[in-house]
């Protein structure tokens, strides 16, 4: 991948991370608030709706507005609501009339999809990074123990790695969630517990290749204990490939989280994740395609960016594997 691709990936990750962190201060609507169950559900992207601002600053939405003597009437679904002019901001329809826009439309509950996507990035990225971090930690632990101890401990740990690796990840994750219940915490733990294997193999390989080097022998002769040997002398050189593995793992994890959410085993509603947004939009696909479609693009963009970044970093570390 070219340098332009790398920069693009970096910029995309930056924008995603920024909007995820700064979500509450971006002036978005509340992602979980159902503002108006009659007017707002399933608005197409870029739709503007009529609304009037009241004296207290709140908005009232309407499919249709008409002014009658001393009041305005708002049509909401089958009914007309009457609001006296004195309740309106500025006291006249003109001064109170607003036309708020829903850039990416709304879902079946009238919730703002843009806000849900951004807040969903929060949840999805949080899960992705925490689970990948946990996987790296676990993998490093297992790999270091196996690589340093050798013998039957190594054999046992590596067989365990093979065993976990041979269960299809989604099935394993599904089984775990089915057994342990469903929450944000279990999602992170389950995803971390099912994706440490590559890191373990990587760390073990690195340690095996370094174990007999002179500087390690010297450290050992100087009386360094195993933990110190691992932490100070061996792991630093595994750090870079491990980071690349971690970045690629984040993308994978986001994909699996989406699948779990889609199966109804991820983060419980109403909190938005990209996966459960797609799941909610699934049954309204033909009438409101944007509900299920847009979060998919968010997932693709994120995973592509992480992948490009990881590949570029890997290439920089080891130019011979460039492809």
């Amino acid at each position: 991948m070219s340098a332009a691709g790398f920069k693009f990936a970096l910029a995309l990750i930056g924008v995603l991370a920024f909007s995820a962190i700064a979500a509450p201060w971006l002036g978005l609507r509340d992602p979980n608030e159902q503002l108006d169950g009659l007017v707002l559900p399933e608005l197409a992207p870029l739709t503007r709706v009529d609304a009037v601002e009241l004296v207290d600053g709140t908005l009232r939405f309407a499919t249709e507005l008409r002014e009658i003597e001393g009041a305005v009437e708002l049509r909401r679904g089958p009914r007309w609501d009457r609001i006296p002019l004195t309740d309106l901001y500025g006291g006249t329809l003109d001064s109170a009339h607003r036309r708020p826009r829903f850039v990416l439309g709304t879902d079946g509950f009238g919730r703002d999809i843009l806000a849900r996507l951004v807040y969903g990035a929060r949840v999805s990225l949080l899960i992705g990074f925490l689970a990948a971090g946990m996987a790296l930690g676990l993998g490093t632990l297992v790999g270091t123990a196996a690589g340093l101890a050798g013998g039957w401990i190594d054999g046992l740990l590596m067989r365990l790695t093979d065993v976990v690796l041979s269960v299809p990840r989604l099935f394993l994750a599904v089984l775990l969630v089915a057994l342990y219940g469903r929450s944000l915490t279990t999602t992170i733990l389950v995803l971390g517990a099912t994706s440490w294997m590559a890191a373990a193999r990587l760390v073990r390989g690195e340690i095996l290749s370094l174990r007999e080097r002179d500087y390690i022998q010297a450290a050992r002769a100087a009386g360094a204990a195993a933990p110190r040997l691992a932490w100070v002398h061996l792991l630093p050189s595994a750090m870079l490939p491990l980071t690349v593995e971690g970045v690629l793992r984040v993308g994978d994890t986001i994909l699996i989280e989406a699948s779990l959410s889609f199966l109804g085993l991820g983060v419980p509603p109403p909190d938005p994740t990209w996966g459960n947004m797609i799941a909610e939009g699934r049954h309204r696909l033909f009438d409101a395609w944007w509900i299920a479609t847009l979060p998919g693009f968010a997932i693709i963009a994120t995973v592509v960016a992480l992948h490009l970044f990881g590949e570029a970093a890997r290439k920089r570390l080891n130019p011979s594997t460039a492809c």
Partner: protein, 328 residues
């Protein structure tokens, strides 16, 4: 070759054993007891609870239950009772297996053919826009959740352009169709889910073959062949592709977990009556014995797939079987 096969088998059997052990440990450490599962929300006196425990052997110590369970699963194929489908788990699995095999097999055929074709073609067009397009598309396909791609496929090809049916495995008038009509009907239902299921693997295969082709094209034997006046076309599709295609066998084996995991969501999206759908229904009904059985079966697929890929590679490439202790 036979010795190599036995060696591989010797790795595969303990692996399945280990997976079963892992699953047993997970079950044991999960909150709640199996009796709670059976009873659900019903309130019963403690004697009844005890009777159930005794009837199912839950009162025995864990090691004894472990041995009994292993024996039941591996020796008798006894996987318990599915309360959501009201039949033995074994029967539910037997019904769901053929559709899944059909779907996964078709997906595999799809991704092999298209992955190799696209990979080779984009390598042939190296440095041009076609290569960039294929690279970009394969990257996007790799990053797509399978269920989302399935929804998009349904929206585009079942709704906007109604070419393929959106759901299920047969049309409603399947029973009255002629044999040819049935086959056609099945194929029509099969295409969308198989393509969606195979898409991620096709993307991986494309990237893989592409890279392999570029490596092969840089080899001296290509230069030599070019010097002898071999046409560019033959150079690509004959010489370089033959070189690049060998590792595809192991990649096909490695893509099995992806296909099996993918079938879980793809079958749900397309209402395909296979193992994925069975698992999903079982999750909703909290039918753990089914989830357990499908997990074990999915793992068996993966282990067998890897075994098969190893064997195929050893058959195709003598270096592998000789290197891996075959000489002893």
């Amino acid at each position: 070759m036979i010795r190599y096969f036995l060696r591989r088998l010797l790795v595969a059997v303990p692996l399945m054993f280990g997976v079963a052990t892992l699953v047993f440990i997970l079950l044991e450490t999960a909150p709640g007891t199996p009796v709670d599962q059976i009873l659900g929300d019903r309130q019963v006196p403690p004697e009844v609870r005890e009777r159930i425990e005794r009837a199912y052997g839950f009162d025995r110590p864990a090691p004894e239950r472990y041995v009994r369970w292993l024996g039941a699963v591996f020796l008798q194929g006894e996987l318990g009772w599915s309360h959501s489908r009201a039949r033995p788990v074994r029967r539910a699995l037997a019904e769901a297996l053929p559709p899944t095999l059909l779907l996964a097999g078709t997906a595999m055929g799809f991704f092999l053919v298209f992955g190799i074709a696209f990979g080779a073609w984009s390598a042939a067009r190296r440095g041009r826009w076609q290569e960039r397009l294929i690279t970009l598309l394969s990257l996007a396909a790799y990053a797509m959740p399978a269920f989302w791609l399935g929804l998009m496929a349904i929206f585009l090809f079942s709704y906007k352009l109604p070419i393929f049916p959106a759901s299920s495995m047969h049309g409603i008038d399947f029973d009255t169709m002629s044999a040819a009509g049935r086959l056609f009907d099945l194929i029509r239902h099969l295409i969308l889910p198989a393509v969606v299921l195979g898409a991620a693997s096709a993307a991986a295969m494309t990237r893989f073959v592409h890279a392999g082709m570029l490596d092969a094209l840089a080899e001296p034997f290509i230069l030599a062949a070019r010097g002898r006046g071999v046409s560019e076309r033959r150079l690509l599709w004959g010489h370089a592709l033959r070189r690049a295609i060998l590792p595809v066998i192991s990649l096909a084996g490695l893509s099995l977990p992806v296909l099996v995991s993918g079938s879980l969501v793809v079958e749900v999206v397309f209402g395909w009556p296979g193992m994925g759908r069975l698992t999903y229904d079982a999750i909703l009904a909290q039918d753990t014995s089914v989830v357990l059985a499908t997990t074990l079966l999915a793992t068996l697929f993966v282990v067998l797939g890897n075994l098969f890929a190893d064997l195929a590679l050893a058959w195709a490439d003598p270096r592998v079987r000789l290197q891996d202790g075959g000489g002893r």
